[in-house]
Symmetry: C2
Subunit: 223 residues, 2 copies
Amino acid sequence: MEKHFEIINQCPLFRGITDSDLSTLLKCLSASERRYVKGDIVFMTGEPVTSVGIVLSGGVHVVQEDFWGNRTILANVRPSGLFGEAHSCAGTEKLPISVIAVENSTVLLIDFKRIITSCPSACSFHTGLILNMLRIMAKKNVFLTQKMEHITRKSTREKLLSYLSAEAQERGTSKFEIPFNRQELADYLAVDRSAMSNELSKMQNEGLLSYERNRFNLKLEEN
Amino acid sequence: MEKHFEIINQCPLFRGITDSDLSTLLKCLSASERRYVKGDIVFMTGEPVTSVGIVLSGGVHVVQEDFWGNRTILANVRPSGLFGEAHSCAGTEKLPISVIAVENSTVLLIDFKRIITSCPSACSFHTGLILNMLRIMAKKNVFLTQKMEHITRKSTREKLLSYLSAEAQERGTSKFEIPFNRQELADYLAVDRSAMSNELSKMQNEGLLSYERNRFNLKLEEN
DNA sequence: AAAAGTCAGTTGTTTTTACAACAACAATTA
DNA sequence: TAATTGTTGTTGTAAAAACAACTGACTTTT
């Protein structure tokens, strides 16, 4: 497992924990390293999940399969990436998703109870780990809430304005750059790219805003 | 503050904590009770937030105001309801939302740092509190992720199928009831009610599913 | 029992969006 | 430099969605 220490350290769950402590901590957590070959199922839909996973090598997909068998990839997790934290913490009884190895992979599994239960030897790292976990989920929460805010708007225009407005406010200026190209923005807002481009054009004509590539400028009134 | 103990106890943050302990705990947390008159601002957009709030009486709105001043109500928090937990935990520097008293209200504010920092007297409740917080955020996380999964679909049909499919899988049966009426479902999926009703009709005609009021039955193939 | 209210489905119309195809331009690579 | 690839904007068309208005079934209130 030692050879993966670098990867593990990059995982936000272990932020602030030194290499020398890591070994003790992992033992204390009874973390277990598992190998999967391409196509293997790490977590299975419908089953309960009690562990969080960290990809050490290879990669896994978080996928969802609907009633009719249509499969959607929800996430692509790469080395040092975390998965299953929300469900194992929330105590989900039937996983609504599956986790599948997309190539030969190694994964570190940690029983969630172990993370939140102080060990008999009262190792001081649990607290740090729990706080890391808290922060990870809080950030994801904020992210999802913001995105939801944009996506729940009915029209493309409203989605765009909601998103651009939020960017402007976060930066505290009406001139700003966005971290997406058009296709990425369209995917983020769940709309068609060309329709979105079109809507941007219209808004520019109407004097609501101006832009060039990923530089935007929001305008109050028409001036 | 004692008169609000019942309300506080109903807050998921204090789950598992007895009334007799509550008093000690609140003191340890330096929880402060604040009064607001209708229209007062509890948290202000653009400012950092370091506390979580619990509504004791009255009620607050979490609102978002965009660049052009259009206001949206994101949440309506009633007594025993929690707000600000994700942002105060994530360390958001500029709050993207405001919290406003919709009537004369009392609110309990707790500094987030106090929650996550073990007090000198090593009161044992912090751990419980932190775990409650973890679980609250994890559940919200799961909820948001699932909803996002449905809403990011482009067409009304896809949104419906994604949602209904998830319900069926969660219950482990193709016949189930949903906890929404049509208008609520339409709001949840961010689509127009009549258009949604229409789409449901079409799908029933096509033999994909059948329904009556809020009882649904998903069907494999046409049979 | 009548009246009012709620809820779901239906229809027709208008508006919006997706989709497809292409042109202009920029950036990258050979 | 030429060729290739990627990105953005534009246009036309077809499909989908929103919107508005109305019906009928069922509930609750008076």
